[in-house]
């Protein structure tokens, strides 16, 4: 019931326990696709249930906002704001989308809605996106949205069994307000 409506086809809904089966099925269907870049993507049904539980706990305290991307009434992926740093007033954004729904701008549109939320409602000063070097589809999103590439942290990430470099993209509240 409670959702962030983006357009006729697309909405963001909080992950709740009753969505656990659908979320797990989506991960299961996309496992090979996700494992390339997501270290958590080997999770079983119980891990997914625990993720939803702890995400809701974090929502309760404002530490993170994990939402499902729902396209034409079905769960299509996931996007979230996490790693809230209250002292520096910043968070990080992460996302993934089902392989068969790539290329429709679903993540870009969802990101825009979360950027509005992050800066207008949570009133963050800064939002980061971390992308592993080589994950070009993911990097295209902050590029398209006008994030600034600020640097590459060497060996910072862990993907598919090895350390990878992470590109740090940043967007400031002032920049997002200007770009709108």
């Amino acid at each position: 019931m409670f959702k962030l409506t983006i357009d006729d086809d697309l909405e963001l809904r909080l992950h709740e326990e009753r969505h656990g089966d659908e979320l797990y099925a989506l991960i299961e269907r996309n496992r090979a696709h996700l494992l390339e870049w997501m270290v958590w993507a080997d999770e079983g049904r119980e891990d997914v249930a625990n993720f939803v539980k702890s995400a809701l706990q974090d929502f309760a305290t404002g530490e993170s906002y994990q939402v499902g991307i729902w396209y034409q009434g079905k769960m299509a992926g996931s996007i979230g704001l996490q790693a809230r740093n209250r002292m520096f007033n910043k968070m990080e954004m992460g996302y993934w989308i089902s392989e068969d729904l790539q290329g429709n701008g679903l993540v870009t549109r969802s990101c825009r809605a979360l950027l509005d939320f992050a800066f207008d409602e949570i009133k963050l000063n800064r939002l980061e996106i971390h992308v592993a070097v080589g994950n070009d589809r993911s990097a295209a999103i902050p590029e398209r949205l006008g994030f600034t590439q600020e640097g590459v942290l060497r060996g910072m990430g862990w993907r598919a069994g090895k350390h990878v470099d992470l590109i740090i993209y940043g967007m400031l509240a002032s920049e997002w307000n200007n770009s709108r």
């Binding site: 019931m1 409670f2 959702k3 962030l4 409506t5 809904r13 909080l14 709740e16 326990e17 009753r18 539980k53 809701l56 706990q57 929502f59 309760a60 305290t61 404002g62 906002y65 939320f117 409602e121 949570i122």
Partner: protein, 186 residues
């Protein structure tokens, strides 16, 4: 962030910590009006106290035991409508609400209640929603009766009201009754 739009003027939003100031201000403006029926109003003596209440409600939301929602009318917080004590073993819950005095008489709670009942029966999969009201809280009872809740009884001296035990009239709506009411309303 998370909202359910009822019409151009009215929407329900999941209450979050950052709403604490607006919520506190509304309670503060309505203290006299609310204290008759809502014993917890005195606990909301600071914004921090309200922030703590919202945090506790969201914990219950995270545990699947409640859904705290604010009623927003023309962009301003006007009251609250929430499910409390959701019990998924028995698939039942309580619905509770209050509205700012200056917003009464516009059907805001009735419309909000309808949306919450759809949510309870269509999405949460509940079987029964209970609504309790003090016998002399006629405005609250009128909502239950307008929506077609069935009055099941009066529990004697079940709630503490400052200096005495008060009775509560129990109303409930079952999933099949709500579906039938919706069907015949069409």
């Amino acid at each position: 962030m998370f909202r359910f739009t009822i019409d151009d003027d009215l929407e329900l939003r999941l209450l979050e910590e950052r709403h604490a100031e607006e919520y506190f201000a509304l309670i503060d403006r309505n203290r006299e009006h609310l204290r008759t029926w809502l014993v917890w109003v005195y606990e909301v003596d600071t914004v921090d106290a309200q922030r703590k209440r919202i945090n506790e409600s969201l914990q219950r939301f995270a545990d699947g035991e409640g859904v705290p929602a604010g009623i927003w009318f023309q962009g301003d917080l006007a009251g609250e409508i929430s499910f409390t004590q959701i019990n998924m073993d028995h698939r039942n819950a309580y619905i509770e609400y209050w509205l700012s005095a200056d917003r009464q008489g516009n059907g805001l709670v009735t419309r909000s209640c309808r949306a919450m009942l759809d949510y309870a029966f269509d999405e949460l999969g509940l079987h029964r929603v209970e609504l309790d009201a003090a016998p002399d809280n006629l405005k609250s009872r009128a909502i239950a009766e307008r929506l077609g809740f069935r009055q099941e009884g009066t529990l004697r001296e079940v709630g503490w009201r400052y200096d005495h035990y008060g009775d509560l009239v129990v109303y409930s709506m079952l999933a099949r009754e709500w579906r039938e009411l919706r069907r015949t309303a069409k």
